[in-house]
């Protein structure tokens, strides 16, 4: 979600709550004989409000999972999740008087810090990266289908090379009609002419397309790939330069898809930390509430 003008009201309200909470906390902390305590009236109030914010933030998952619960717009819930979740951190610090306490409370503070920090990190990513993705991945596709599309690119590349190869070999297999138009132009091409292409394809391009996870391949770098294809053109007859261009575009599309995968991971993998830890945080917080009231 981009943090834009629609967040302004939430920002102002959150700042106001923070300022008010701080204005209450400072004299309370200075006046407390033995320092602020979570068990004091104000300490409890901070804790209750902070926990309420955490619970509200946790309900975002339920709201998204059950969209038929039309309790407010999903965007409103998202904004609330961001700002009230962020506010929970200072409020819980005020609740504990900036002390970590015993084992359970220390674990809670650490979890809260990690959850909020990961949330801030994720919010920043989700603010900046979509624009980057639009600029760098014009051929963006559905993430779950990237592997499928990459397979299709490999097939397409095989077909282009097969077409070129078939044109010079008397034993070439039939090629689809839409790629057989240039028969008269490639009739003069010999096996020797296309050897560089075949060699390049077998040694460089096909392995590049077959292993999407390999990042250190020379074709993964746009400048290097451009240079390689430019060099390849100098070794091939002009009649098949267009096929070389097609292959170059396929490599470009492959690079974009790989870029999309990386950006997608950046955009979403932090949630694998944020969501489970926040659930653990809520569970432990509930236990802390019960036991703190007991003792």
């Amino acid at each position: 979600m981009r943090i834009d003008d629609t967040h302004k009201k939430w920002l102002i309200a959150s700042l106001a709550i923070f300022v008010v909470a701080t204005a209450i906390y400072i004299p309370y902390a200075m006046a407390s004989p033995h320092g602020p305590s979570g068990a004091s009236a104000l300490g409890l109030t901070f804790g209750i409000v902070g926990f309420a914010f955490m619970v509200f933030a946790g309900f975002l998952g339920a709201r998204k999972r059950f969209p038929l619960w039309r309790i407010g717009r999903a965007q409103t819930w998202m904004r609330g999740h961001l700002w009230l979740g962020l506010l929970a951190l200072p409020l819980i610090f005020y609740h504990g008087g900036f002390r970590f306490g015993g084992p359970l409370t220390s674990a809670l503070m650490i979890l809260l810090i990690i959850v909020v920090a990961s949330g801030v990190f994720g919010a920043a990513l989700q603010h900046y990266l979509p624009t980057v993705m639009t600029a760098e991945v014009p051929l963006e596709t559905i993430f779950e289908q990237i592997e499928n599309v990459q397979g299709q690119l490999l097939d397409e590349a095989d077909q282009i090379v097969g077409r070129v190869t078939a044109l010079v070999s008397p034993l070439a297999t039939a090629v689809p009609a839409r790629v057989a138009i240039v028969t008269e132009e490639v009739a003069a091409i010999t096996e020797t002419d296309i050897a560089p292409l075949r060699m390049f394809y077998e040694r460089e391009m096909r392995p590049f397309l077959e292993k999407p996870g390999e990042r250190k391949h020379s074709l993964a770098d746009p400048a290097q790939a451009r240079a390689m294809f430019e060099g390849l053109r100098t070794l091939l007859p002009p009649q098949i330069h267009e096929s070389v261009s097609d292959l170059s575009e396929i490599c470009e599309e492959e690079r974009e898809l790989r870029r999309q995968v990386r950006l997608h991971h950046l955009l979403h993998d932090w949630l694998l930390l944020h969501i489970p830890l926040s659930l653990a945080l809520l569970v432990l917080a509930a236990v802390h509430i019960v036991m703190a009231l007991r003792y």
């Binding site: 015993g102 084992p103 097609d246 575009e249 653990a280 432990l284 703190a292 003792y295």
Partner: protein, 463 residues
């Protein structure tokens, strides 16, 4: 031939329309982790629960004194069958500690935990905050209505504490022993055996009765010890203060004649005798003098007839006719009268206040009333301040000429070091004052067996 440009339809056709029905690796991981981490958290709690160890719920580190009870939550957190709560109550504290009331007429009694806050990792639980005291003493009231003490005290450093009682206007040293500190601190005083000496503070004032010799006393250490024992109680912290922190060298030992004065101030009574009269009541001194003269005249009967003598006057010598005493008793009476005239009018009167009642043969010596402990409502430890010279705090001593001068330092002197801030010595109330009236302390009997104290905590006990 140009690469076939994709149409929207072709792009859409690349997508498998049933992809969302198949498991997604990322979502699967999210689901698994969302179950796993909370379960691990619950397992963590359960592990402590199965071990019946509740220290996981502790709100912080225990104080040093109670650290051994870290896993014995039930030692302090008592619960009843009817209540879910198991907070630390005064009942738990009092089962091990006695906490005598501060004043019988105090308006309210705070709970133990309101002043002695646990679970903060403190070294000393007795190190209470100033506010624990000023909650009453900032505006003191009593149940009886009268307030015999200063009513408004806020803290020590900022002028919120009154001057010490002994230094307030109108207060004078109640002691009757005449002493001029200024003279005693001068150089070149006449000391034992005619030597010229310079006294130091610890030639008279020491915080312990240890093994160091007194420089200017003429008696042996055994004589001194015997005399000291007979002359009164030895000052200890336990005599005049609460237990705990004060060391055996907190207060100055009382000044005694035998240790501190006899070396320079002998008590001669007659030129016939080198010895001094005993430093005792007039009755004892009288009996001593009489006995001495009786023994003397019995051994020297010839002195019943005095030899002729002259008194040298400025103009001419005055002959004194010899006197003949009719009996030894008459001689003894005359000599005793002369000796006691010397003693009561000069020797003893040099330091003591003697009261001559009409018709009484012997004077009464006024009680010395030497104040041993000046702060009746505070503790002080000289041992803790041994790094400083005496005159750092007792700055008026070298110029004090009057017995009535009170030479204890004032509050401003203490504030030189004892003030708030990282560079100040402790300035909170507990450093000098105690809340509990330890004179009313009751002996508490331990209830926890050593072996059970080191077992794992079994949750709050039910009473």
């Amino acid at each position: 031939m140009p690469r076939a440009k994709r149409t929207t339809k072709q792009i859409a056709q690349r997508i498998d329309l049933n992809y969302f029905k198949r498991p997604n690796r990322w979502r699967t991981w999210r689901f698994v982790l969302s179950l796993l981490l909370p379960c691990l958290a619950v397992l963590w709690l359960a592990a402590y629960g199965l071990a019946r160890n509740n220290r996981i719920y502790s709100s912080g580190k225990m104080s040093r004194a109670h650290a051994v009870l870290t896993e014995q939550c039930a030692s302090c957190h008592l619960s009843s069958a009817a209540s879910f709560r198991a907070s630390a109550s005064d009942q738990a504290c009092l089962s091990c500690h006695d906490g005598p009331i501060h004043h019988a007429d105090q308006v309210f009694t705070p709970t133990c935990s309101s002043c002695h806050v646990e679970h903060r990792g403190q070294l000393r639980l007795a190190a209470t905050a100033v506010e624990s005291c000023t909650q009453c003493h900032s505006n003191l009231h009593t149940t009886g209505g009268s307030v015999p003490y200063v009513q408004h005290i806020s803290d020590f450093s900022s002028g919120g504490h009154p001057e010490f009682a002994a230094l307030r206007p109108g207060f004078r040293d109640p002691g009757t022993i005449k002493l001029n500190h200024a003279i005693h601190m001068k150089a070149g005083l006449l000391g034992p055996n005619g030597a010229r000496v310079q006294l130091d503070c610890d030639d008279c004032h020491r915080a312990d009765s240890g093994n160091q010799n007194w420089r200017f006393t003429g008696a042996t250490m055994q004589e001194i010890s015997a005399a000291a024992t007979s002359s009164g109680p030895t000052m200890t912290a336990q005599n005049y203060g609460p237990p705990s922190r004060s060391s055996a060298r907190a207060y100055m030992q009382p000044v005694t004649y035998a240790k501190h004065c006899a070396g320079c101030h002998p008590l001669p009574f007659d030129k016939r005798f080198a010895e001094s009269v005993p430093h005792d009541t007039p009755e004892v001194v009288h009996a001593f003098v009489v006995k001495r003269f009786q023994d003397y005249i019995a051994a020297h009967p010839g002195e019943l007839r005095e030899a002729a003598s002259t008194i040298s006057l400025p103009t001419r010598p005055l002959p004194i006719s010899p006197r003949v005493y009719g009996s030894q008793r008459e001689w003894v009476n005359a000599r005793v009268a002369e000796a006691e005239e010397l003693l009561w009018r000069k020797t003893c009167a040099q330091c003591h206040l003697l009261l001559f009642a009409p018709g009484a043969d012997l004077p009464k010596v006024a009680k010395s009333n030497i104040t041993v402990r000046w702060f009746q409502h505070a503790v002080f430890d000289h041992e803790a301040h041994r790094a400083w010279t005496c005159t750092s705090c007792h700055s008026k001593t070298t110029s004090s000429q009057e017995t009535a001068d009170v030479l204890v330092p004032g509050i401003r002197t203490c504030e030189t070091c004892h003030h708030e801030g990282a560079e100040g010595a402790e300035a909170r109330c507990f450093e000098c004052h105690t809340y509990h009236d330890w004179s009313r302390a009751k002996t508490t009997k331990g209830k926890v067996h050593f072996s059970s104290a080191l077992q794992i905590g079994r949750g709050p006990a039910s009473y």
